[in-house]
């Protein structure tokens, strides 16, 4: 299992969490190279569809991070996001996607440390689960095989 190098799709809001990732860099806080960051303006931009697509594509984990409640650059985008995440998490887990594959966080642009901590935590949990198995769309060739 230790050789397993997961790939985790990470959606970061531009104003807070992406800034935190930048700050983690400036501060040289180390975490393993398993994240693939997709920058979005706001956590409110992330539709359930994108998370489903990431999992279908074989992401071993998905991590979404936005501004803390009250800090949203767009006033309230993260509050709507929070409701979406709640439903998404429930439906995915209900369907048998392991809880450890899907992570959410609020990280402000001043929280470089927290960014690195959560990154490490997310990676750890995904590593524990091993490669994603069930909800992966196979290409026709793969399906045939």
């Amino acid at each position: 299992m230790s050789s397993f190098e997961p790939k985790i799709i990470t959606f970061l809001c531009n104003w807070c969490s992406y800034g935190a990732a930048d700050l983690a860099g400036v501060s040289r806080f180390q975490y393993p190279p398993h994240m693939r960051v997709i920058r979005v303006p706001c956590s409110g931009r992330i539709s359930p569809k994108m998370v489903l697509a990431a999992l279908r594509k074989g992401a071993d984990g998905v991590w979404i991070s936005g501004c803390h409640p009250g800090d949203c650059h767009y006033i309230e985008g993260n509050y709507y996001a929070r409701r979406k995440f709640t439903l998404l998490k429930e439906i995915l887990e209900f369907n048998g996607i392991e809880p450890g594959r899907l992570h959410f966080s609020w990280i402000s642009s001043a929280e470089g440390v927290k960014f690195a901590e959560v990154a490490n935590r997310v990676i750890d949990e995904v590593k524990q689960l091993g490669p994603a198995r069930v909800f992966i769309k196979k290409s026709p060739e793969e399906s045939a095989a």
């Binding site: 209900f94 048998g96 392991e98």
Partner: protein, 315 residues
């Protein structure tokens, strides 16, 4: 002719006579036993066809369209809630619809009745708390409660929540029922077992979209599964695609679904699609204390938020 049918016909005739509405949307007897069909009455004379019994499983909100002008619709408790969602979502205007509310005692599930009767049923009549099922060979009496669809058996809002007229006095509302025992049972499974359970449950799905068509909430001009740019969900019966469809549809209906059961009743393959919508319904209730279609004053759950919505899962 039962009392409900009689009253519906009278009310409808009056509405059409006075010109209050151009159309009355209701049910008529179906071609086959234990079925009904949607019916549009446009003249007082048509109203004689209007009908009501335990087989009015369809949710007529599906057929409400802005273009219909002023229309009256026959609606059960769950249907009225759905109409209410439609009003908040700008599908129809409150002033354009006359709701003939039906205090509902529940609709039966054909499969259950057939199994119970041990053969094809020719007639089914409601008598008090019982159903009399007539097959080719015999006539059996079964407590209606045993035949109810699950959503009806667990119904918490049998009476219309919004209406212009009622067909009868409100019926008693049951309380204390355990609405989510089956959901909790699945919740308790391991992830792998959950996956396997639904793999099996959805294996019959042929992507015929009967559920989507029956659902009044699925009114998008183009469903996400039919999107072409990008086309990210396959159109066939690949299990991952099937699951994607059902999961995302459940999310789309979360906070809006009023548990009318039309989807499941419409499914030719007995796919338990409501497990997912009910999981969402439970989540919306547990987390935010909301139920769909009870107020005109607020948008559905996903369109609003509270500052202190629970967020223990967010790091």
């Amino acid at each position: 002719m039962n009392r409900y049918t009689e009253t519906i016909q009278t009310l409808a005739a009056k509405l059409l006579e006075t010109g209050d509405v151009k159309t009355v949307l209701g049910f008529k007897r179906g071609t086959f036993p234990l079925t009904t069909e949607p019916f549009l009455a446009t003249t007082p004379a048509d109203t004689g066809e209007l009908y009501w019994d335990v087989n009015c499983r369809l949710n007529l909100a599906t057929y409400l369209k802005k273009e219909m002008g002023k229309v009256a619709v026959v609606a059960k408790g769950c249907d009225t809630r759905n109409i209410l969602v439609h009003i908040t979502e700008n599908r129809i205007k409150r002033e354009d619809v006359v709701i003939i509310g039906v205090p509902c005692t529940g609709m039966i599930e054909v499969k259950k009745a057939t199994e119970m009767a041990g053969g094809d049923i020719l007639y089914a009549t409601e008598q008090g708390e019982e159903m009399i099922l007539t097959t080719a060979g015999e006539e059996i009496r079964v407590p209606k409660a045993q035949l109810l669809r699950q959503n009806c058996a667990l119904c918490a809002h049998p009476n219309p929540v919004i209406y212009d007229m009622l067909v009868a006095d409100p019926v008693p509302v049951q309380t204390g029922m355990d609405r989510y025992a089956d959901i909790r049972e699945i919740d308790a499974k391991t992830s792998d077992a959950k996956w396997a359970f639904f793999d099996e449950a959805f294996s019959a799905c042929t992507r015929c979209y009967a559920c989507r068509n029956a659902c009044p909430l699925c009114y998008c001009p183009t469903c996400f599964v039919d999107e072409s740019r990008p086309q990210w969900v396959g159109k066939g019966t690949d299990p991952v695609d099937v699951r994607t469809y059902h999961m995302l549809r459940a999310i789309h209906c979360a906070g809006r679904c009023t548990e009318c059961g039309a989807c499941e009743s419409a499914c030719p393959m007995d796919v338990p699609v409501r497990l997912l919508t009910r999981k969402m319904e439970k989540t919306v209730g547990d987390r935010w204390g909301l139920e769909a279609g009870l107020t005109l004053d607020a948008r559905p759950a996903q369109d609003i938020f509270c500052l202190d919505d629970p967020e223990e899962f967010i790091l």
